[in-house]
C-alpha cells in the first residue's frame, strides 16, 4: 500500500482527461441496491459531474412514482456522482432513471429543433430588414 496517497485526491497527480474519460473496465453507471430504504437504489456515475447529476436528480424529483431523488459529489476533485433514487414500487429505480434520461434526450432534441427553426426565422427576418433598409436608401 502506498503510505501517503489519498485515493480521494488522485486527480491532483493524474492528467486532466481523467476527469472525463472512463478507464479500461470502468462502467459509466452502476446500480447498487440500497438496503436501508425500500425500493431504493444508489447509482454511481463515473467521470461525470453536476451537469448530469443535478439534471437527472431534479428531473426525477418531478417524475411519477419517484418518492425521492438526490445526488452528491463526494469530493470536488473526484469525478463521481452518487445518485440515490427511491420509487413507490410500481417501477424500479432503474426504470425511473432510464425513463428520465429518455425524456431528457427527447426534450433536448425538441429544444434543438425549435432553436434551429427560430434561429432560421430570425436570420430571414434580419435579412429582410436589411434589404428593406437598402431599398429605402436606393429610392432616396
Amino acid at each position: 500500500m502506498a503510505h501517503f496517497t489519498n485515493p480521494r485526491h488522485f486527480n491532483l497527480q493524474e492528467p486532466a482527461f481523467e476527469l472525463f474519460l472512463l478507464q479500461d473496465g470502468e462502467k459509466k453507471i452502476t446500480e447498487e441496491i440500497f438496503t436501508g430504504m425500500s425500493n431504493t437504489s444508489d447509482f454511481t456515475m463515473l467521470k461525470e459531474d453536476h451537469t448530469l447529476g443535478n439534471l437527472i436528480a431534479e428531473h426525477l424529483k418531478a417524475a411519477p412514482h419517484v418518492m425521492m431523488a438526490g445526488y452528491k459529489i463526494a469530493h470536488p476533485n473526484v469525478p463521481e456522482v452518487l445518485l440515490r433514487v427511491q420509487t413507490d414500487g410500481t417501477i424500479t429505480p432503474r426504470e425511473a432513471v432510464v425513463e428520465a434520461c429518455k425524456q431528457l434526450v427527447a426534450a433536448y432534441g425538441q429544444l434543438g429543433r425549435e432553436f434551429q427553426k427560430e434561429f432560421a426565422f430570425r436570420q430571414i427576418a434580419d435579412q429582410g430588414e436589411q434589404a428593406n433598409a437598402m431599398g429605402l436608401n436606393g429610392h432616396h
Binding site: 459509466k28 461525470e48 431534479e58 411519477p64 432510464v98 434520461c101 431528457l104 434561429f119
Partner: protein, 312 residues
Amino acid sequence: MMNSLRRVMQAEVPTLAIDLIEVEENSSSMADEVISHRLGLIPLNSVDLESVLYSRDCDCEQYCENCSVKLTLHVKCTSEENMNVYARDLIVDPNRPNQTVGVPVITDPEGNGCLIAKLNRGQEINLACIAKKGIAKEHAKWMATTAIGFEYDPHNNLRHTDLWYEKNAKAEWYVSHNAKYEEPVAEGTPFDYDAPPKRIYMRVESTGQIPPDQIVQEGIKVMQQKLAGLIHSLIDDDQGGDANTGYNGPQSPEYGGGDGGSAWGGGAPGDGFTTPYNTGGNQSSWGGAGAGGGTTPYGTTPYGSSGQSGWQ
C-alpha cells in the same frame, strides 16, 4: 436542464487548439514555453470538427492527418523596426481532415489575428505546431465560448433573489436587457411563491471558432450523447436490452461521434419515443404546468415544495 446545457457548452463542446509544439529556432525575447502557451490559446476554426478524430481514439501512433492539423510558423525580423508576429503568419498544412478546420480565426479589420510575439532585428522564430481536438474540461484553451449570459425572471417576479437597496430597490437596480420580453408583476398581486420560471435567457458569445448557434446545437448534442451513454449502460445491464427499447444503436465509446448518424444525432424529428413534454409547444419541460396532461406532475417546479401533490 438549461443550466446543464450552459455547463456543457462551456466545458464540453469540442474545438481545435494547438497542443504540441516543436521549436526549431527561437531567438525572440520570449521563452519557448511562453510562446507555446500563447499559441495554444489562439482560436482555430472548428466548425467542421466531426471529421476530426480525437488523437486518443485514432489508430495512429501519436498524431496524424485524421486527428490533427499541422501549423508552421517561421518568421524573422530583418528590418530596423520591431516586427509583430500575428496569427495570420501561421501556415496551415493542407493535409488535414477538411479544408476549413484549423485556420486561425481572424476577425480584426486589419486581418492580422492574434498577436503572438514581437521581434527585434535579427530575431527569429521557427516552429511547428500540432493542433488537436479536445474539450475545455482538459484545458481551457479548448473552450468554444467566451461567456454565456444566463438569466431568468429579469423583473424578479418570483423573488428568487433579494435585491439589496439603500432606499428603493426599483430605483437603484438596473433592469437587464431581457426585461423587455417580460412584464413586471402588477403591484398588489398576490405572490405565488410556487410559480416556476417560464423563460430562460441565454446569451452565447463564441470565441470565433464555432458560430454561437452551432455551439448551442453542439451542446445539445453532447448532452444527448451523455444521457444516451447512461441509458445504454443501464439497459445493457438488463441482459442484451429489450428489443422494444430502440436503443441498440452502434456502440462506440463515443455515441454518435461518427458522422452524426446515430439514433441520438439529435436532428431527426421523432426520436423514437414520445414524451409528455413534446405537447407543451415551445416551452421547456419545466415550463408549462400540466403540459403533458393531467396525470403528469412535471409541471411542478424544482424550486417549490408543492411537488407532493403530483406524486400520488
